[in-house]
Symmetry: none
Subunit: 242 residues, 4 copies
């Protein structure tokens, strides 16, 4: 246990060069720019696929068809580009979450929609999943220093909390479930499948990326969550499968 906390700093043996200027010349003009966006998109793919360490600045520049030096002009260093990508994906999911309008639905429908959305999002945005995963391996050191990410609270926790309360109040959900734990569980059920789809495929000798497998998983996750909330035995009667 102590272990996990120790090496964060010590272990960074990474290639260290001179590092003279560090911060990118943050002119306002630079903030929104086609090249910048292209770079972030290219970097997102690279970083998702290979992680921070496995990605090459050259490859990103080449993929973006943009001169490598521009990366340094815009981001100062590789790590900053990585962080920019992280902030980008975080911003994106927040936007989608905010678009969710669960308040107008009854608790059961709302919860089903929420779980379905989470599943769909992680499957459609594998990059997001891989980036988060990779960032966790590095003990979230980039996310930790990002004001953008830390300040933007996810609305989902509140959504879960409220929906759960409404369901409990109306008697359709059993009481005693901690909203935070529920949120983590929902995320886990979706996220894990997306993140570990390759080893799972080998383990079961199935192609979990196929449409039918994905559909089966999606249904199971919703069923599993609702089952736990409602009480499995009466599941069929209360809610309709999506």
């Amino acid at each position: 246990m102590a272990k996990t906390a120790t090496k964060a700093t010590a272990k960074t043996t990474v290639r260290k060069t001179k590092k003279r200027s560090r911060s990118a010349p943050a002119t306002a003009a630079k903030e929104d720019n086609a090249s910048r966006r292209t770079l972030i998109e290219a970097a997102k793919k690279e970083f998702a696929r290979n992680g921070l360490f496995g990605s090459r600045v050259d490859e990103i520049a080449k993929a973006a068809k943009i001169n490598k030096q521009l990366i340094y002009y815009y981001f100062g260093e590789k790590d900053n580009l990585y962080l920019a990508v992280l902030e980008d994906v975080y911003t994106d999911i927040r936007a989608h979450e905010n678009a969710l309008d669960l308040g107008s639905l009854d608790p059961v429908a709302a919860m089903e929609k929420l779980v379905g959305f989470t599943f769909d999002y992680v499957m459609d945005n594998r990059a997001f999943v891989q980036l988060l995963t990779n960032e966790n391996m590095m003990e979230a050191k980039h996310v930790k220093r990002s004001k953008v990410i830390k300040s933007t609270h996810t609305p989902i926790v509140d959504l879960v909390s409220q929906t759960l309360s409404r369901g409990e109040a109306s008697g359709v959900f059993r009481p005693g479930i901690a909203p935070v734990q529920l949120y983590i569980s929902i995320a886990a059920l979706c996220f894990f499948y997306s993140a570990n789809i390759h080893t799972l495929g080998i383990l079961f000798d199935r192609d979990f990326r196929s449409k039918s497998e994905m559909a089966e998983r999606r249904a199971h996750v919703i069923d599993f969550v609702m089952g736990s909330l409602i009480g499995g035995k009466m599941l069929g009667k209360i809610h309709s499968r999506s």
Copy 2:
């Protein structure tokens, strides 16, 4: 046995300038060796922490207090060492799974034990979690080429399947749950927490690595799974919390 995996073929008389043979001269004697084991243990930590790309052969050697070149003597190349580590952790978890004796327990107790074991294992073996996670980022290419890993089926799937059947038969578990999906869900609920503990901590501003948080999560996971299997409303009456 070891022989079969080696460069038997590479013995062509033609010079292979680039990349001659790569695999280590795996004589049987070499299979079990103190240095080899020490290296694997050191590498496990490195790779878990930094991934394949982020890890440095030098660091591994230094950590193992073993001459760096021995790594090449035993494993031929970094990738092979990485695979050896993967096979090692896979072997370990399989051993633990096999030690699980669920058949003698009633379905509810058996399922609780199973979930609890999974949770404990992933929390006690963060390296395993991180290695798997990292391997998935690389699309499981190492695992794919490992006979050791592919041939050793996990017994857990069968355990889940049988326990589920027993529970269904006795009427304590609701029917209609696919064993494979259930297994994935159990793994997900445990694994995700372990793998993403840092970003979760930031999101909720809590230290999920603390004992109390871990205990809370553990209880929730068991409760959540059992709730879904049994039917939440009567949960309290049937099983006792661990």
Copy 3:
């Protein structure tokens, strides 16, 4: 043009952990460049002296007073630099051969000039000789994959052929000599002396690199070749082929 030789194909999105792309990013601009040329010249000396395997990239860079990594920037890998050197020397000798104007001389003078030129060239360009020699030890694998070298036919073969025909027609040369064999023989008489000058020196305890020895050899070679071409008229009658 340069583009065609590059990694256009290597741009696959899949990560090539081992050996990504190898060839240099051969933009047209790079084709003629002072650094590039300097490197080739330095490499020529190294490779001629030590062969491909015996040469050290570090030494080449040092000799060229150019940052070692530029070698990789321009040539991608040691082998490519080696090939570039080979192409360079081939190009050079071709240029000299093309400058030979044998058509305006009578057959005897033309042939003498040709042999003399060959002798002088291999003595003045020991590097060429040693590079060829070394390349042959490697079964000409680099030359084989060089379009530049394979496409540039040596004009000497035609020169030999034409001169031979003219001499035969005018009755000054005996008939029945195959041009290709004659060409090889001329080359052999010159080349061998240059390539094996050291062991020859030991064998005869003479310094074959001295001016007088070289002059003697030069005269002998011309005499020997002309003797065979001119004096052969009665050959058939006197000796029987084995």
Copy 4:
């Protein structure tokens, strides 16, 4: 020209390790030994193919199926093994040369036999050719320090000399040909073809290793030499030296 003499010492950048004990424990028993012979044969192939620098001690040991350490036991270091190989091939060719009985043949037949033998030997013993070639690239530094090689004079020079004299005396050979030059020329005509067979093949797009090509070359060489020796009577009148 000065160039060729300079770098002999300076350029030896080769991997230099500690070098403690140097000479092999030259017990008499060691001199002739099956393992020793096997090693020399294996090394001969390796060195012929890859040169001193391109050859790997490991490969030689593996090819000989003899433990690597034995190489050090017998030869002390790689260079000594290389020299042993050189001495071996030199000894072999000397033995064959000594078996030649030219004195009993008439000059023409003797000379033809000599040329034919030389051609056959270099074609049958490509290793010899390549080793010599490689040794010359290193400025014959090993041969220079070998007493065995330096002391064993080749009988061929005398054979050439005597045969030439006999032919001159009997009027069948033209006078004025220096025996040493003739010897070198004969060697050149044969040796060059063997040593440069690959690049020649590319140049002319022919497979000079085929039986028919070899036969053609063999006939040409004999014809070419005899032509020069016999037909020279009118040489002086017809062409002028350059």
